[in-house]
């Protein structure tokens, strides 16, 4: 119950952020379209695939613990965390390219939104990975059973939220023009 309140509060915050971006774009369409062309759309798409697959691995971890298979659950969680790491590395390359080109939050309105939205999401990915790592370590120690595994379900829900946010962020920032 508590995790759902937390998740919905996060969704509310990101929702306001997404709509702020959309309406800021409505008043600066040419600037947003021109700036968007300099984004690495391939990186954004690959990261979408990475997060979706990572989310699927978490589904498999939940399925494993429901069968009482702690070690399998830990393995699936490790794979999901690994893909979370891939997401971060790809994003860091993107940030590095932008910062190296002299782009910052103050470059223009588009980049102010692009950088703050993606950095905000980036921090949520890190938090999600920390949560999944804590759950994975407990699963590895046999801390969950088929009957009692609320921690796994809670960590999984948070990670799916991180995935869901990127599923909206990708078309909004990288595709819509």
């Amino acid at each position: 119950m508590a995790i759902w309140l937390f998740i919905y509060a996060e969704l509310l915050a990101f929702g306001v952020f997404f709509l702020s971006y959309a309406f800021a774009r409505a008043h600066n369409v040419e600037l947003f379209n021109e700036s968007q062309q300099h984004l690495n759309r391939e990186s954004g798409a690959i990261n979408t695939v990475v997060l979706i697959t990572s989310s699927y691995f978490v589904v498999r971890a939940v399925a494993a613990i429901r069968e009482g298979l702690s070690r399998q659950c830990a393995h699936w969680l490790s794979a999901a965390i690994g893909l979370g790491g891939v997401f971060l590395v790809i994003k860091l390359f993107e940030f590095h390219a932008k910062f190296s080109a002299g782009i910052s939050l103050s470059t223009n309105t588009f980049y102010m939104f692009y950088l703050s939205l993606t950095i905000f999401h980036f921090m949520h990915v890190i938090l999600g990975m920390v949560i999944l790592a804590a759950v994975m370590l407990k699963a590895r120690r046999g801390g969950y059973t088929a009957e009692h595994h609320t921690g796994v379900e809670t960590g999984a829900s948070y990670w799916h939220m991180v995935d869901l946010l990127w599923i909206i962020l990708f078309p909004l920032v990288y595709v819509i023009r």
Partner: protein
């Protein structure tokens, strides 16, 4: 063994199909972006695809399709408000 088979058919297999569908829909969204397609109809298509993806993640991965109607309604409302707001903002930008 029956329980395991039951859980696989009721939980894992639908989620595997959803995962594949999500990848396909992501490919379509990327293709639209790569071709730099724009305009109201294309953007509405992208938003509908995004809504479907969001509903899939919420319903199947998060398991909301098997919880109370209230939680599902909140999630669906969030997706509709955000997607609808983005659509309205896009149309405002066209004027």
């Amino acid at each position: 063994m029956n329980n395991i088979e039951n859980q696989r058919s009721r939980f894992i297999r639908p989620c595997t199909r959803v995962w594949i569908a999500l990848l396909v829909l992501t490919g379509i969204t990327y293709g639209i972006g790569r071709m730099e397609l724009g305009g109201a109809q294309i953007v509405m298509l992208v938003l509908v695809i995004t809504f479907i993806k969001g509903e899939m993640v919420a319903g199947f991965f998060m398991g909301l399709r098997k919880t109370s109607l209230l939680w599902r309604a909140i999630m669906a409302s969030w997706l509709v408000i955000v997607g609808g707001g983005i659509a309205i903002a896009y149309l405002v930008g066209l004027k």
